[in-house]
């Protein structure tokens, strides 16, 4: 195994664990305001310091991880849940009306600057985690639909699919039982990449105030709050940013590593 894959897996695991542990325990209370202890630099009592309201930054980062990971995970789930069946259906009847419709809709969604539309959706339907999920998730659908369709098409020409047809299996069963399992690797790798993009998008949306709303902590909001404090206490800006950077980096390394490990054709190192 490549060291970058291990590093990626470790970073990803760290943040998933931080998010899970935050449900049970955090070093400090993220809703308790303590102005007297505001903007303290990292110390033994507060490992990552305190923010402008005196809240423990480590606890904020842990609880923020929850929001980031949940929004990105559900957005990817939405994209996969709708995109994969659409892609499978389009590939099963290549050139049919559904195929055309799926592909043209895909082209259209790709033409939109995704962040602009995400901003439009969240701004109009009101800011909040749910609308952020929707806004990010919509752009994941065509990604998975296109990927699934492309890969599924190549399988439809293979002999084992022909055998399944001769055995009397219908199109939906062949898609689910023979084609989908063959796409698993591809989907896992793409899922990891979309997951990291989702975290970046969520951070951007909550930074401009369109993501999760207070008192729910999120990394993007922490950065927005930090903006005016950055000269007084640089750590309030550095800590949440590093959390985003390390999580996204971890997921990207994991995705790249998995692709190399799962795809034998890529094994001789060519990134």
């Amino acid at each position: 195994m490549k060291p970058s894959l291990i590093l990626g897996a470790l970073l990803t695991l760290t943040f998933i664990l931080a998010a899970l542990i935050s449900y049970l325990w955090t070093p400090g209370d993220v809703e308790a305001v303590n102005i007297a202890a505001r903007l303290q630099p990292p110390s033994a009592a507060h490992w990552l310091g305190t923010d402008h309201l005196g809240r423990d930054m480590l606890s904020m980062v842990m609880t923020g991880a929850r929001t980031s990971l949940a929004v990105a995970l559900v957005a990817v789930g939405l994209g996969m849940g709708l995109g994969v069946p659409l892609g499978l259906a389009a590939a099963a009847r290549q050139g049919g009306w559904l195929d055309e419709l799926v592909m043209r809709t895909n082209d259209l969604i790709f033409a939109f600057p995704s962040l602009v539309i995400a901003i439009l959706i969240t701004a109009i339907f009101g800011p909040g985690a749910l609308n952020a999920i929707l806004a990010i998730g919509i752009f994941n659908i065509p990604v998975f639909a296109r990927l699934t369709r492309g890969a599924a098409l190549s399988f439809w020409r293979r002999e084992f699919i022909l055998a399944a047809r001769v055995a009397g299996k219908g199109v939906p069963r062949i898609s689910a039982e023979h084609i989908l399992p063959n796409l698993a690797n591809l989907l896992i790798v793409q899922g990891t990449i979309q997951f990291s993009l989702g975290i970046l998008a969520e951070a951007g949306l909550s930074y401009v105030g369109l993501g999760a709303q207070p008192p729910v902590p999120s990394w993007g909001r922490m950065l927005a709050d930090a903006q005016t404090m950055v000269s007084l206490a640089p750590h309030v800006a550095i800590v949440p940013g590093l959390a985003i950077l390390l999580t996204v980096l971890g997921l990207n390394l994991l995705g790249d590593g998995l692709r190399d490990a799962l795809d034998p054709r890529l094994r001789p190192s060519r990134a």
Binding site: I119, A123, L223, V230, A237, L249
Partner: protein
Amino acid sequence: MLGYALKRLTSLAVSLLVASLVIFLVVEVAPGDPASYMLGMNAQPDTVAALRSELGLDLPKWQRYLSWLGGMLSGDFGTSYTYRTPVAEMVAERITVSLPLALYALGLSTLIALPAGIYAAARRGKAGDAGVIGATQLGIAIPNFWFAMLLVLLFALKLRWFSAGGFPGWDDPLMAMKSLTLPAVALALPQAAILARVMRSSLIDILSEDFIRTARAKGLSRRQALWRHGLRNALIPVLTILGLQFSFLLAGAIIIEQVFFLPGLGRLIFQSITQRDLIVVESVVMLLVFAVIAVNFLTDMAYAIADPRLRRPR
């Protein structure tokens, strides 16, 4: 070639039409009536009704869509509900910030990425290559608005080389460019990371082609073969990515403008959304979508000119 261009042009027109319909519908279902928003909580119902008819909000939806669309086609983007000024004027003013910013960032990203990608490809598998790959991993993972804050912290607050935000206008072009420098760097970095990777892998692919071996067999050195034959061919996918990046730069600029308090299109969108100035939102988003679709079209055309195989019907 003409047939291909016509076909692409038709699909461009259809995309724009559908996009306009989607944007109109999304904005239409938005809760909150612009007229009552403008007049405040205590407005009389008949005053609201009068304003609604003045703004044309009482017309049927399809009629308003058609008049909006017709207006856009003739360069009339409507009149802002809040400021009572033509949207086209507001956009024209803001675009003098956003467009130079996006182009500045595009220029920077190309200047950083191409040399880095070529350097890495030429030293494939060596320390320099690994360094470039590591740097691009970081570049892709950094949220650009956070990078922007770090730039402000270092270059504006600590070193005082640049101002922390704001835009002085184009009266003094040098000052204007200076105030766009940190935002452009912040925008360019993630794009440069992606571009450098594309440049590297495209060049590595090309360098294993037969014609490069032929060039080497003719007696060219590795370096000569790379510069004379490899680079030209490797640039084609890079150009495509550059076209695609334009849309990321436009969208990214919206957030970066918030960090640096730049009076660009991004701030105009946010401002209009909070003021329920729907006509401005519709028109600006439509304009951004148009810009992206048009740039993608031009990229496709450039690609077809460079690579005749694409023109053939598939």
